[in-house]
């Protein structure tokens, strides 16, 4: 038996014993996420148990080094773990901007001290992070940010306003872009800093979205003290790290395009809902729309696969994340427009038990943000035109 086979067997056994039964299927509402953090209210004891057990093995961040609490798994092992988790339909033990965003940035750009300080609590789900990038005047033009950090020797005093802070009201720490040299040119003079959301002067205020939920905040910074040892990378050189994180975010958002809805393909769902006659779905125009979506969706899924395979095999051209982000989010928006048509008048019911609290229309409205957050579709097209096609 190879090492990998042995690893698979061990993993399977361990999961069998340690993954609680209730963590092996989705909740009806579809909100299975576990965010962790100081003030997090777990949906169940099982949810906490599952997070803690996985964290203890470092498997909430399986490919991070063990010295920072990670799982230390090789690529092949990581893949095995994912497969075994999928096999038992296990939920993610911990969802976190720490694991997805600032963690990888710290691993790549952070000092040893920052790694030691921040990574282990992220792995254990103790600290929940949020991102302070966008500002009211600087949406697509991220580098146009105005929030300032004034140098006070061993610390900065930060003032300004951030917007689109994901779960800013629930997070414990923020990674935040500040203009720390107002003389420098646009992209220069920006630093990436970390601070506790309980620092005096930090005030997150939830923004209500058209979907009715408030996953984002405006965050006001009034004379917030930021220690200099909490700057990631060099002072005034945070833009490189910010761009790295943006690419990272883009890939996350772009990956959502081709997911199935509740395990059914769009076509199966449509056929079931609309019925068929003479072998064809009852609404011929909607059938054309569904089939066209499925064809595009299949091609997109294969493209995400191909891009990954190319990177793995060293053939990757890179820079395709803008395309995946652009196409994936547009596809996802189209999918939800089609879902609305499939579900007819049921699809616009906003509240009540039968509609799971208006899950479909609220999620549909939420998808409209996919092509805005993490860089609008327009920005992605600019990036493709300039960076890939070389159009000036």
């Amino acid at each position: 038996m190879s090492d990998l086979q042995a690893f698979r067997q061990e993993t399977r056994d361990w999961l069998e014993q340690n993954c609680p039964e209730s963590m092996r299927h989705s909740t009806p509402g579809g909100d299975d996420m576990c965010w962790g953090g100081r003030n997090y209210k777990f949906a169940s004891e099982d949810q906490k148990l599952w997070m803690d057990r996985m964290a203890a093995k470092g498997w909430t961040a399986p490919d991070w080094p063990t010295e920072y609490g990670g799982g230390g798994l090789e690529k092949a092992e990581h893949k095995v773990l994912k497969e075994e988790l999928a096999k038992i339909n296990a939920r993610s033990p911990l969802d976190s901007f720490g694991i997805w965003m600032i963690g990888p940035a710290l691993l790549k750009f952070g000092s040893e001290a920052l790694k030691q300080q921040h990574l282990p609590p992220i792995v254990r789900g103790e600290i929940r992070w949020c991102q302070g990038y966008s500002e009211p005047g600087a949406g697509s033009d991220l580098a146009g940010l105005q929030s300032k950090g004034v140098d006070m020797g061993d610390h900065f005093i930060a003032n300004g306003q951030k917007v689109w802070t994901s779960y800013g009201d629930k997070a414990d720490w923020m990674f935040c872009l500040l203009r720390t040299d107002s003389e420098a040119k646009k992209q220069m003079g920006i630093s990436l800093v970390l601070f506790d959301m309980e620092t005096p002067g930090v005030t997150p205020k939830p923004i209500k979205l058209i979907s009715g939920s408030s996953p984002f905040c405006e965050t006001f910074l009034d004379d917030v003290r930021v220690e200099k040892d909490q700057v990631v990378g060099d002072i005034n050189h945070g833009w490189t790290i910010a761009k790295y994180l943006l690419t990272h975010e883009r890939e996350m958002i772009g990956g959502m395009g081709s997911a199935d809805v509740g395990g059914e393909t769009l076509g199966q769902l449509a056929a079931k809902t609309l019925g068929t006659e003479h072998g064809r779905m009852n609404n011929p125009m909607l059938r054309a729309e569904v089939a066209t979506w499925e064809i595009d969706g299949a091609c997109f899924g294969l493209t995400a696969e191909r891009v990954t395979d190319e990177v793995k095999s060293g053939q990757g051209v890179g820079a395709t994340s803008a395309m995946l982000k652009y196409y994936g989010t547009e596809l996802n928006k189209r999918r939800f427009e089609t879902l609305l048509k499939i579900h007819g008048s049921d699809a616009v019911v906003w509240s009540g038990e039968a509609s799971k609290g208006g899950w479909l229309p609220r999620t549909w409205l939420r998808t409209k943000g996919n092509s805005i957050e993490g860089g609008t579709s327009e920005i992605q097209l600019n990036v493709i035109a300039k960076n890939i096609l070389g159009l000036g």
């Binding site: 966008s134 005047g137 600087a138 949406g139 697509s140 033009d141 146009g144 917007v163 689109w164 923004i207 209500k208 979205l209 058209i210 009715g212 809902t273 609309l274 609404n283 011929p284 125009m285 909607l286 729309e289 928006k333 427009e337 609305l340 048509k341 579900h343 007819g344 008048s345 049921d346 699809a347 616009v348 019911v349 906003w350 509240s351 009540g352 208006g358 229309p361 409205l365 409209k368 943000g369 092509s371 805005i372 609008t376 579709s377 327009e378 097209l381």
Partner: protein
Amino acid sequence: MALVLNEEQQMLKESAQGFLAEFAPIAELRKQRDAGSQTGYADNLWGQMTDMGWAAILVPEAYGGLEFGHVGMGQIVEQTGRTLTASPLFATAILGVTAINAAGSEAQKTELLGAIAGGEITTALAVDESIHHAPTQISMTAVKQGGGYVLNGAKRFVADGSTADKLIVVARTSGEAGDMQGISLFVVDRTAAGVEVERVEMTDTRNYANLKFSNVEVAEAALLGEEGKGFKALSTTLDAGNIYLSAELLGMAQQSFDMTLQYLKERKQFGVLIGSFQALQHRAADWWSQVELCKSVVLKSLQAMDEGDKHAPVLASVAKAKLCDVAELSTNEAIQMHAGIGMTDEYDIGFFIKRSRPAQMMFGDNSYHTDRFALLSGY
């Protein structure tokens, strides 16, 4: 007839603009929503509208109406699309009046149309039974018994269904789901015994209901028109409904375009107005062109109804199919071009998409009407 408004129609349009801006702007929709309003509009709104004669516009003079015609009424409805104004105008003054006028006896017309014109009653049309529009697929039954009928069945997606005084109910007196024959219309009090009304909140926070009829007994006089021959009047009513929904969607497409154009001229990114970016300019120019197309087909459809043009049914489907398409484009582009703030509840632009989709779906969406258009065209 020339595809332009005459002076009177133009005046009505402007007067509607003024009235709605003052008494029912988008801010009012927000207020009603936040207050959890059951009707979706201010208590005195319908009274003001009927005072202005809006309930009587489609009612023939013989029954106490103004008989001002569809083009005029279309201007008002288009304006309500711009202000997203909810009111009984659609379900009562358009659907109710059209159905009663098309199917009713002299006595019914005299009584009901007069009462509508005078603002005394409101109505709702109960047609669909499943989640998709299918006017021949009526399973609800009306069985003759004693001197009247007994109704059993269920209806969904009934606009104003939770508040209207009179329900105009489409039921089957013979035949099977799918048949055009055997469909009959009944006027039923919403508060009649056996009528169960479940209010349904939708994305546009208007007043919809699912209805359940359990052995509801009505008198013979409740039958609107001839027994089993109601499909024709129903069709006329649905065509009118779709043309007015198109007019409303046109107002929404125009207003969301205008607001977005304004934003393109105000918002700066990278140190310049975003309206200076050519990619957005071209999208805006195409969008504007699409709205221009919509104006033409809506006006033509309204004229066709006024003229009793035999192409009105085809035009109804052309208009609704096109307007669904352009309203979807408009409400999506409006959010995308507003970007971040377009996603916030605080900004008004998001109300357009939430009203647009129910309006698109009511009485058949783009796919339904494209298919119907093809069938009516012989393919």
